[in-house]
Symmetry: C2
Amino acid sequence: MAAGNGKPLGIIAGGGTAPLLVADAAIRAGRPVFVVGIGGEANPDIAAYPHEVLKWGQIGRMQSLFAKHRVTEIVLIGNIRVRPDFSKFKLDLGAIRIMPKVLGMLANGDNDLLSGVVKLLGELGYTVVGAHEIAPELVASVGLLGRRAPDKAAGTDIDKAMSAARAIGVIDAGQAAVVINGRVAALEAAEGTDQMLDRVARLREAGRLKWSGRAGILAKCAKPQQDLRVDMPTIGPKTVKAAAEIGLAGIAVEAGRVMIVERPEVIALADRSDVFIVGVAGNQGTRG
Amino acid sequence: MAAGNGKPLGIIAGGGTAPLLVADAAIRAGRPVFVVGIGGEANPDIAAYPHEVLKWGQIGRMQSLFAKHRVTEIVLIGNIRVRPDFSKFKLDLGAIRIMPKVLGMLANGDNDLLSGVVKLLGELGYTVVGAHEIAPELVASVGLLGRRAPDKAAGTDIDKAMSAARAIGVIDAGQAAVVINGRVAALEAAEGTDQMLDRVARLREAGRLKWSGRAGILAKCAKPQQDLRVDMPTIGPKTVKAAAEIGLAGIAVEAGRVMIVERPEVIALADRSDVFIVGVAGNQGTRG
């Protein structure tokens, strides 16, 4: 584990409150932090920590800031709402210097942005650590997250939905599945969890999925091969809202491998809408 | 196998040409046939065989017709466009007589229409056989169905798509998967194959799935537990049209366990739109 060793921690921060939680947890563990906020994304509250806001492509500036603060370990955390448009990058000298490596990576067909960024930071001499290694409270643990608990019928759906979510992870397709009264209603692939939930809503509206009262489970798991340091599955207020609107009974997440974004809001929403959230022990080893 | 034993064969016929193909195959094998056409669904060409058109619920009439023609073995085959509305059934005496059994089945939570019908026909003393046991030519065999053949890149996608389709069958979720250049783009569950293909089209339009030229595979398999006598997965002209419009390279089906509906039209469409169709040997035992 990387926490508690007194080493400075660099935080590359997208939006939301997760970067702040990571900074607080690091400071609690006696580590100085330096936050590089991503322009247009980072929460203004990073101002409470040593920080600077940079634009995409200011890699040389990032390197000199991290060097100045003796940062060699980095966490990447927070939402990115606007996918960066590489053609509009303002490349500084540091960025231009690593361009041959970037082009080499692209030529090798490495088209997964996140794993590319991790590799690149590695090439620049940084170690990327997972936000959950610094702030384990970001991640679901085993047990209930709100007031409501699953009944016995929901328990059967939880097992089946978790199995389904794991099965599609094994084939590298997706992270989430919906099971309603024993029937697999939806499996996630390229469309993502939000659109999958939207599909379940429309199937119910069209009368192709029928149930009464609250029933059914959204399950979410990490894929076995997922790099949890930078690409952990998440649920957040939007997920809970969607589950409640569809009429699902609850949400099951793989404990230790799924991040709860905006946890207080998630819990408040779940309690208010009578949706339960439960962390279930996975059979996957943890990583990182 | 049920073919060639000279026993009369009853055919309960929905729409399309498949019931006619089954009747022809039975006659070729020396079996008399009697066709019960489902009103509003059956192809008028069943008039070429001993037949009668019945409404849903005329179970007593069906029984006396089958008794008169000494039918004890039945095939259920053909499209049902309009799902029967049980509340509008004209129940004849035979239907009323079996109502206690129907109600018992419903009370037991047996809400799968087809397996219910099979069970009911069994209770009435009939043996239900698969259309593919009478007319094996309805089913995909190993190899190419049209002119176009997969190239090497498509071969990799075929393997991955077939694995994905099998994996979701094992969890009883669905029959079909789409893999494009190594990535699982979509997995079928309650929405069905047509809506899943529609989703892939929309993800491509939205720029969330990108590829150039024709690429990607729709794979379709039977679930391990599927009752192939009455519920065989199918592909038909609509499937080929959708695959062509999306820009997929081809369609892979599990040989021996997927029915090709309207085969001549399927092949003509595939050839015209440069989509290949290939039957791939499954690792599932055949059933029935």
